[in-house]
């Protein structure tokens, strides 16, 4: 079934049109990449879908229900959770406390009230769920360290772990690989792939085209606020408009 449906969203800041007309449909269980050159409107689109910005026109539907213009926390409660560029963790809390915090919406709920992902443990015991997520994401050894002490790659993993605590159906990752060294990148990329096996749909925005090509099932390319191409890795790399959009920038992705 379609988990996310974005229809003709537009975002204007005064006269500036950041996002002109974008429509995307994502089926459940997919890993979708959203790429485009700098300033193409990727992050704005991200904000529009997750509720951090309101579109000036168009609509967003999540699992069939309209979420356009709703407050981000309400959208998160429905199962759409996003992470942020530039790490977003609770810096002074421990790793464990961070993930514990992620369970916030589940407090006081019993199993039957939240739709459970059968591959994840029940949220009726937040302690157990926290331990499980830490283990799953490889953070157990650092669980008592303050988040700010972690290296960038692990902080990134932590922010994903915290998002998992919410039990998202759709996880939106905002440049999860930015600023990481190759080892860290491959570690995070691997974690992202394994999430799909746990029934979570992923939408990610990334600059690192190579990584996107290898992780994602389908890729949407945008430029100047519009979609210019969509397809799998082969289709995208052979698409002339995509090549043109990145013309002259290819070097930067080889690093």
């Amino acid at each position: 079934m379609t988990i996310l449906e974005v229809n003709n969203i537009e975002k204007k800041f005064g006269k500036l049109v950041a996002v002109k007309d974008i429509s995307v449909t994502i089926p459940e269980g997919q890993i979708r990449g959203l790429i485009g050159p700098n300033g193409s409107g990727k992050t704005t689109t991200f904000h529009l879908i997750s509720g951090f910005l309101k579109p000036t026109s168009g609509e967003v539907k999540f699992r069939g229900a309209r979420i356009t213009g709703k407050a981000p926390h309400r959208i998160a409660k429905k199962g759409l959770v996003r992470t942020f560029q530039l790490t977003s963790v609770y810096r002074d809390m421990s790793v464990r406390e961070n993930v514990h915090m992620g369970h916030h919406i589940h407090a006081g709920r019993t199993t039957s009230e939240t739709e459970q992902n059968s591959k994840f443990p029940s949220v009726s015991s937040i302690e157990d769920s926290t331990s499980w997520i830490l283990e799953f994401m490889g953070l157990s050894s650092e669980s008592e360290a303050p988040a700010r002490m972690l290296p960038a790659g692990m902080q990134r993993v932590l922010s994903i772990a915290t998002a998992l605590a919410v039990r998202p159906k759709l996880l939106m990752l905002d440049e999860p690989l930015a600023g990481l060294n190759p080892t860290e990148k491959s570690n995070v990329a691997q974690k992202i792939s394994s999430l799909r096996d746990h029934g979570i749909t992923i939408l990610l925005v990334e600059h690192d085209v190579r990584s996107v090509l290898s992780i994602c099932d389908q890729i949407t390319v945008i430029n100047f606020g519009e979609k210019i191409a969509e397809g799998n890795a082969d289709e995208i790399t052979s698409n002339p408009s995509v090549i043109e959009a990145y013309l002259g920038k290819a070097e930067s992705y080889n690093a």
């Binding site: 981000p72 926390h73 959770v81 942020f84 809390m93 915090m101 916030h104 919406i105 922010s159």
Partner: protein, 340 residues
């Protein structure tokens, strides 16, 4: 939640706090007997300021340093003053709660615009809102008595054999209020709600993205803190017997903010420590009263420049040192290093 759940979920620290309070309470009750009437007054005023600063600290937990706190306390004070000096005076208890409610309502009204701001914009906008409120106290002469304020505010009627017309009697009232508020607020601080509020202050974006209603979690402490201010204001009006707009001006506000900075706000008792320090300074320099704001200002600058963390940090480190020292004496090892 059920009573059973409430009890089992009670944090250990709160239990200690209750025990500590039970031990300290008789001492605090006995304290004024050892003091001259001047110092008893100082004690009462300190207690009322402590209530106000507990409310202020609550607001800082959501990340905002409000400058409208004292003016909002004035709403409680004027409510009590106006209603208790009518031809047919209202009951103290009703004005107390009504005043606190009005203070909270004011906070709720300005919450939408003011909570859209952060950091110094928040400071500036609450400053302006507070000042406008104070100007209201001055200008609406008919109701508030204008620059002259309101006088002849009576004390509440005594009960249980306590006469509130005496300073010592009123002290019991103030102390009881302070202890109740302290326990309630501390419990709140330790609760999940209290922790969520601090999480929102630590990282608003992240909190919003994991489903926390950040708006609500910022408005609630702001309104609650203002309600507490209203209580303090009301009680001050009764104690002083007169109020005028100058009472709710920037010097008291500065004292609260300075106490919070000098004492620190990470712990619950930090601001109260700061208040102790500033009050001690004020009393020590009674004869050179004009110098006091300078000393307060210098203290603030000193803390910010030299000793981040404030007095609360000094106390915490002191306890750690003490603990390490005491543990050390039982071993032959050389001095342990302290983990910070």
């Amino acid at each position: 939640m059920t009573i059973a759940q409430f009890i089992t979920s009670t944090p250990r620290r709160f239990v200690y706090a209750c025990i500590g309070t039970a031990i300290a309470a008789p001492l605090l009750v006995a304290l004024p007997h050892a003091l001259s009437s001047y110092w008893q007054s100082v004690l009462v005023i300190f207690t009322l300021n402590a209530i106000m600063i507990m409310g202020y600290r609550l607001i800082t937990t959501m990340g905002g340093w409000s400058f409208s706190h004292v003016a909002t306390a004035g709403l409680g004070a004027y409510t009590t003053a106006i209603l208790m000096t009518l031809e047919v005076p209202w009951s103290f208890w009703i004005t107390l709660f009504l005043g606190a409610g009005i203070a909270g309502l004011f906070a709720l009204l300005i919450a939408y615009p003011v909570l859209r701001t952060r950091h110094y914009y928040f400071f500036l906008s609450t400053f302006a809102a507070g000042e406008a409120l104070r100007q209201g106290y001055i200008q609406f002469k008919g109701i508030t008595g204008g620059g002259f304020g309101i006088a002849f505010i009576p004390r509440p009627e005594g009960f249980l054999g306590i006469d509130f017309d005496t300073t010592m009697g009123f002290y019991y009232l103030a102390l009881t209020a302070a202890l109740i508020i302290w326990l309630l607020l501390y419990r709140f601080d330790l609760s999940r709600l209290g922790r969520t509020i601090k999480a929102v202050a630590a990282n608003e974006e992240l909190s919003e993205s994991i489903g926390i209603n950040t708006w609500g979690h910022r408005t609630l402490p702001f309104v609650l803190g203002s309600v507490i201010a209203g209580f303090a204001g009301s009680l001050s009006a009764n104690f002083n017997g007169t109020i005028n707009p100058m009472d709710f001006g920037s010097i008291l506000m500065f004292k609260l903010v300075a106490a919070a900075i000098v004492g620190g706000v990470s712990t619950f008792f930090g601001p109260i420590l700061g208040l102790l320090y500033l009050t001690a300074l004020e009393e020590a320099f009674r004869t050179w009263a004009e110098w006091v704001p300078l000393l307060w200002g210098a203290s603030v600058i000193a803390v910010l420049m030299l000793w981040s963390g404030g007095l609360e940090m000094a106390v915490i480190r002191g306890f750690k040192l003490l603990k390490a020292f005491l543990l050390n004496r039982n071993s032959n090892h050389s001095a342990k290093t302290l983990d910070s």
